[in-house]
């Protein structure tokens, strides 16, 4: 997740180095925030690429999915030994697949040109609100 964006955004190498250093230092110092910092470093690297125009929508989807995979692996490492690991992996694969699907759908929606229509915006906001209510309920 750190190497992939820097191949297309060479100028972001300092952030990549910082993220890699956080990854390497984490086990030795038992630093809980190291994983989060490494993921944020990957996000910043990709964000710099997006701003520079070198990271396309498909590449952004792949970056985001890689970051999610890394965070899921980090959670697995912190959970410790758990019996029924196969069932746990299945659940995580489902989350990874959902994340990748969400990234693709978002990328497709972003690439599609839709004329500005207020009712469409209103429908989108209403759908988001309904989703929030359904999640909270």
């Amino acid at each position: 997740m750190l190497a992939e964006p820097v191949t297309v955004v060479p100028g972001a190498w300092p952030v990549t180095i910082a993220g890699a250093a956080a990854l390497l230092a984490a086990p030795a110092g038992r630093w809980p925030a190291a994983g989060t910092l490494a993921a944020l470093a990957a996000m910043v690297t990709s964000g710099i690429g997006i701003a520079a125009g070198t990271v396309t929508l498909p590449l952004a989807a792949i970056s985001g999915t890689l970051v999610l995979a890394y965070l899921l692996a980090l959670d697995a490492a912190e959970s410790g030994p758990i019996a029924g690991r196969l069932r746990w992996v299945r659940g995580r694969l489902l989350a990874l697949a959902a994340g990748f699907a969400a990234a693709l759908i978002t990328a497709t929606s972003a690439a599609t040109t839709v004329p500005a229509w207020p009712w469409l915006v209103l429908a989108g906001v209403a759908a988001a609100g309904a989703a929030l209510i359904a999640a909270a309920g």
Binding site: P32, M43, V44, A60, A61, G64, A83, A98, A110
Partner: protein
């Protein structure tokens, strides 16, 4: 010693935990927030694509769970002696879908999981989880058996709920050292017991022959002597009486490492007295000296031993300005003619005064010095050795003072040394310390 059959310490309960976001949840939110903010500020849809996987992972498990877990705990007993093991069994079953369930046993310092096994147990799949721990009671006292933490993770690992269940109390009795030789007072109680008294009575020990007197039983007539002397003579037997012993615990001062401190030895010594004498059919009571004095009147039987053992469980050294007044103790708790065996480090003048007060009131008193180690003087000073010698001289003078008042002093385990012996077995030393009084009874009486 544990209860013969395990019994449910607690019926199955279904408490509701407090569900809080996990570190995984916080990481996802933190990592998703950065590109979302960039998308709002910069207006570039590609940032939304970057954040979409994290947002989907947060939304997938839906909402915060609200279910609890059915927890049941079972212990093999609620009382035991030092060094014995108690088995704690815990079973937890979540009332909803849980990714994993973990159990962790939190014990007080006096208890420890034996066998080196981990105190936590986790299982995936969300089904019922059972765990069993062998817990060793290391120190006497009344302890909370500990808490069991049941930790559940929701599907997706975004929320964790923790339930804390208390396992109740456990009474750990002091393990009494063996005491085979019993010290006895010169004056025994009038109750029937196992010890020979100087007074004639109806025991089984033959002591002599005397002329028949009205009221003597005909079965006591010694016909051989009667036929030789031409007058009635009867066999005389010694009375068998029970002794009354009162163990006094000096809890005013407590010094030394936990588990082998002066109070620990005093409590174990009192337990040894209670066990040995109740087994011999004698009556044993206990008095605890500290701010608020506590006492148990002498009684007999195994029940009395456990009454004494339960009374001493709450003994802790509580510093108080109040001097224990032995005159406040009722006669029932300190009967006349009782032998008083005091366990004290002889560091506080109030305990010494209490021993002298008892002696002056006519009780036979034995003081067992439970101070095992000498104080450690400050290193590097020329006066360090001199101070230690002066301290030892003061101890000797104190002993001489007590013995001149008719209070014998014995050391258990031995005289105070500079360092305590690691892993020393003090059980035989109590026998040695008090054994000399088994051969010659301790006299009381007003001086």
């Amino acid at each position: 010693m544990t209860n013969a059959a395990g019994r449910d310490r607690q019926p199955a309960t279904e408490p509701r935990p407090t569900w809080v976001p996990t570190a995984h949840y916080r990481r996802l939110v933190t990592v998703a927030l950065l590109p979302l903010l960039a998308a709002v500020v910069l207006g570039h849809p590609a940032y939304l694509v970057l954040a979409a996987p994290m947002v989907a992972a947060l939304a997938l498990p839906a909402r915060r769970p609200g279910y609890g877990a059915r927890v049941s705990m079972r212990a093999s007993g609620d009382r035991c002696f030092e060094g014995e093991q108690v088995t704690i069994r815990v079973s937890a079953e979540p009332a909803g879908p849980a990714e994993s369930v973990g159990l962790r046993l939190m014990l007080p310092p006096a208890l420890a999981v034996s066998g080196g096994t981990a105190a936590s147990f986790a299982r995936g799949g969300g089904g019922p989880v059972e765990a069993e721990w062998q817990v060793t009671a290391g120190r006497w006292g009344r302890w909370d058996t500990g808490r069991v933490l049941v930790t559940m993770r929701s599907p997706g690992g975004l929320f964790t709920g923790t339930i804390a269940n208390s396992a109740g109390e456990i009474n750990v009795f002091p393990r009494p050292p063996s005491l085979a030789q019993l010290a006895l007072p010169a004056q025994l109680h009038s109750r029937i017991g196992d010890h020979l008294d100087r007074r004639p009575g109806h025991g089984i020990e033959f002591t002599g022959i005397r002329p028949f007197a009205p009221g003597d039983r005909l079965r006591r007539i010694n016909w051989q002597v009667t036929s030789r002397r031409g007058a009635l003579y009867v066999n005389q037997f010694a009375a068998q009486r029970a002794a009354e012993i009162v163990a006094v615990i000096d809890a005013i001062t407590d010094t030394g490492p936990a588990g082998e401190s002066t109070l620990d030895r005093a409590v174990r010594g009192a337990a040894a007295i209670a066990r040995a004498y109740t087994r011999a059919g004698d009556r044993v009571g206990v008095i605890t000296l500290y701010g608020p004095m506590r006492w148990i009147p002498p009684g007999s039987g195994q029940r009395q031993f456990f009454r004494v053992a339960e009374t001493v469980l709450d003994t802790r050294s509580l510093y108080s300005e109040v001097s224990p007044d032995m005159a406040l103790i009722p006669r029932a708790a300190l009967p006349a003619g009782a032998l008083v065996i005091m366990f004290s480090p002889l560091l506080d003048e109030r305990a010494i005064d209490a021993a002298i007060d008892l002696r002056e009131r006519g009780y036979a008193v034995i003081v067992t010095d439970v101070l095992a180690t000498s104080p450690v003087p400050a290193q590097g000073t020329a006066e360090a050795g001199l101070a230690l010698r002066l301290w030892r001289l003061e101890r000797q003078a104190l002993r001489y003072r007590l013995e001149s008042l008719g209070i014998p002093v014995v050391g258990w385990p031995g005289e105070p040394r500079d360092t305590a012996d690691a892993g020393e077995d003090t059980s035989t030393r109590l026998d040695i310390a008090l054994g000399r009084f088994a051969r010659q009874r301790v006299r009381g009486g007003v001086r």
